[in-house]
């Protein structure tokens, strides 16, 4: 089944889905695996697996540091792909790869997408790859029946949203506000107008990320978007309370 349909189906059961995020190999591969376990057990609906990159330009300080530490701890692209394969085999939710374009480019976009498909990954998010630069990527993703997740931002104009939507698959990732991952967002009227614009631009499910960190945030999003993305906050919980703190945190969100 296509990812978008899978999401729509799940939404029949739940009024909002949760997508969480990990940096693969942070703080170690063992811990990453246990975190995935906890998250799945806590009822997470989708997961982003970030392959660390040395220049994560669109990430805030918390995820940035996790990228670096994962690299220092020996996270390689190969190990990340093996990890992705393993979690996909063991857990029954859709997994997405999230990384920067250089990781795909250097590996070879065609080979990389082939590996993704072989690992059973549903799709990928590449934040520094706008559709204008994504010709090879889109072709390869299509060839491998993978979902290219694209991004809307508050200053993406309507017309451009429609162009992006044309290339997008699975769902569209809407960033809640200007800025990098992990800072505060206030959910204002302006925000409502933004979401309306996103809705108008695409039939795909909408995920909302950047700054979601508490049950009240999730409550607020209920009914407005399909997926709430919890990124930085899980890393904070992991750092503060260890692997065992993750499950309780996620369960408390919904």
């Amino acid at each position: 089944m296509m990812l978008a349909d899978e999401i729509r189906e799940k939404r029949q059961e739940r009024d909002i889905l949760l997508m969480t995020h990990i940096v693969v190999g942070y703080p170690s591969f063992d811990d990453s695996l246990r975190v995935v376990e906890q998250m799945v057990a806590a009822g997470v609906d989708l997961m982003e697996l970030q392959i660390p990159f040395s220049e994560p330009i669109a990430d805030g300080p918390v995820i940035l540091r996790a990228n670096q530490q994962a690299l220092m701890a020996g996270s390689t692209v190969e190990r990340c792909l093996v990890f992705a394969e393993e979690v996909n085999r063991r857990f029954d939710i859709p997994f997405l790869l999230m990384t920067y374009y250089n990781i795909l480019f250097k590996y070879g976009v065609s080979d990389f997408t082939g590996r993704m498909a072989a690992a059973g990954i549903a799709g990928s998010i590449v934040p520094d790859l706008p559709p204008e630069e994504a010709k090879d990527y889109l072709e390869a993703m299509g060839r491998n029946a993978l979902e290219p997740i694209f991004i809307f931002s508050p200053n993406t104009r309507d017309e451009r949203m429609r162009v992006i939507a044309k290339h997008a698959g699975g769902f569209v990732y809407c960033v809640a506000r200007k800025g990098v991952t992990g800072a505060e967002t206030s959910f204002s009227d302006e925000f409502a107008a933004y979401l309306a614009r996103c809705r108008a631009a695409t039939d795909l499910p909408l995920a909302l990320g950047f700054g979601v960190k508490s049950r009240s945030d999730v409550d607020f999003l209920r009914g407005q978007v399909d997926i709430a993305v919890i990124g930085t906050e899980t890393l904070r919980v992991l750092d503060e309370h260890g692997v065992d703190g993750v499950r309780g945190f996620i369960e408390g969100l919904r």
Binding site: E55, N102, E132, E133, S153, N155, T156
Partner: protein
């Protein structure tokens, strides 16, 4: 889709969606400026009254005699206000910021040169200013931090990544992603997403335009070869810009560090160690590992140890229009010493790379030949590094004494 600034296979604009509108605005402002002749004349007049453009062309008579080959001329970007060519780009972007009606600028800096230039421009234009600088660079370039702060800029120490230039660029992008409405990111070299490589090269081309006229006037002919050091590539693009249509050989000199086979260098176009990649918003040759993770680089010159390089230069290497060479740290210190003694000129360590290659080639040319070296900056700023390179005992004693004095208080 709009033109995304490709030069052959290099360049492009690999940016987060949140910045797309900002870049569109910038591209628009840049194109408007470029097609408006009054912009360039305003730029030239600003640089003539605030910096000292045209910067002179100096005939290096003693070095010419010393090498006994080509006549050597030096383009004196070191005489610019703030001490390097960086100010050309920065003041030009300042005018653009004014056009765009923004009130804040941010910049990354490695050597500190570009940060000081940006802080200076911000003071002059009345913008508020934040400069991102890697912790390693803050430590080794404290004088520049001091001046930036005195000029009214906030200097943010970047403690992420390898804590050098590329990390400062990442951090500046993070700021921009948050504050693009009122903020312009003054990128310091001919790298980054479109339109930066093209725009910075255009603003810096004031160097080459002047130099071409000056060499013709001083020597009656075009240079046989011109030499410029290559960090990000802005001074090289600036100088080369005057000679693309001429039968002039263009030579870019990268940081050879401890040698091209040592892996402690920053040579992306002259060595085989770099490979194609996409980072910091554009496609070029990067010093990266097999996975695409950026590697550590090394150079005695803080302004040259960048992992990427101008996509325009990457393409000019592919087309063969520009030749690339590398100069080692040791060669650089030697060329610097010679230039000081023979001509009373103190090139920046970055610029001294260009001198190294010119000195290697001058003797094999004839006295009919003219070669032109870009002295992109002055060496004063490098006193801590240069004094260390010469292992100067008087300097060390002075610093230790000064420290004792501070400790005592």
């Amino acid at each position: 889709m709009t033109d995304r600034g490709y030069f052959g296979e290099f360049g492009g604009s690999f940016i987060p969606e949140i910045l797309v509108a900002t870049f569109e605005e910038l591209v628009q402002a840049y194109e408007d400026a470029r097609s408006d002749p009054s912009f360039w004349s305003q730029f030239v007049s600003l640089m003539g009254s605030y910096s000292c453009r045209p910067t002179p062309l100096t005939y290096a008579e003693n070095l010419t005699k010393h090498f006994g080959g080509a006549r050597i001329f030096v383009k004196r970007e070191d005489l610019n206000h703030t001490g390097a060519h960086k100010v050309n780009n920065v003041m030009g972007q300042g005018l653009l910021v004014q056009r765009m009606g923004k009130g804040r600028v941010i910049a990354e800096t490695g050597a500190g040169q570009h940060g000081v230039a940006t802080a200076t421009m911000a003071a002059k234009f009345g913008f508020s200013c934040t400069v991102y600088m890697g912790e390693v660079d803050v430590e080794r370039q404290r004088p520049n931090v001091f001046w930036m702060e005195r000029l009214g800029a906030e200097v943010v120490t970047v403690k992420e990544g390898t804590r050098i230039l590329k990390d400062a660029i990442n951090e500046a992008f993070r700021d921009w992603v948050t504050n693009m409405d009122d903020t312009h990111y003054v990128l310091g070299t001919a790298c980054g997403p479109h339109p930066f490589p093209e725009m910075v090269s255009w603003l810096q081309s004031i160097i080459g335009q002047e130099a071409r006229v000056q060499v013709l006037e001083a020597s009656g002919r075009l240079p046989t070869r011109v030499y410029a050091c290559v960090g990000g590539g802005s001074n090289a693009m600036g100088l080369f810009g005057g000679f693309f249509d001429d039968d002039v050989e263009l030579v870019g000199v990268e940081a050879g560090g401890r040698g091209l086979d040592s892996s402690a260098h920053a040579s992306r176009l002259a060595s085989a160690d770099a490979t194609r990649g996409v980072a910091q918003g554009y496609k070029t040759f990067f010093l990266q590992d097999r996975d695409g993770q950026m590697r550590e680089t090394h150079s005695v010159a803080a302004g040259l140890d960048y992992v990427g390089v101008s996509p325009i230069l990457a393409n000019l290497r592919e087309t063969g229009r520009v030749r690339f060479e590398a100069a080692t740290d040791a060669e650089v210190v030697e060329a610097l010493a010679l230039t000081m003694r023979k001509e009373g000129l103190i090139p920046a360590l970055e610029s001294a790379h260009a001198f190294v290659q010119a000195f290697k080639e001058a003797p094999e040319l004839s006295s009919d030949d003219v070669i032109l070296i870009n002295q992109s900056g002055r060496g004063d700023k490098d006193i801590f590094t240069i004094a260390d390179a010469f292992d100067d005992p008087g300097w060390k004693a002075f610093i230790c004494e000064k420290a004792r004095h501070y400790d005592a208080r």
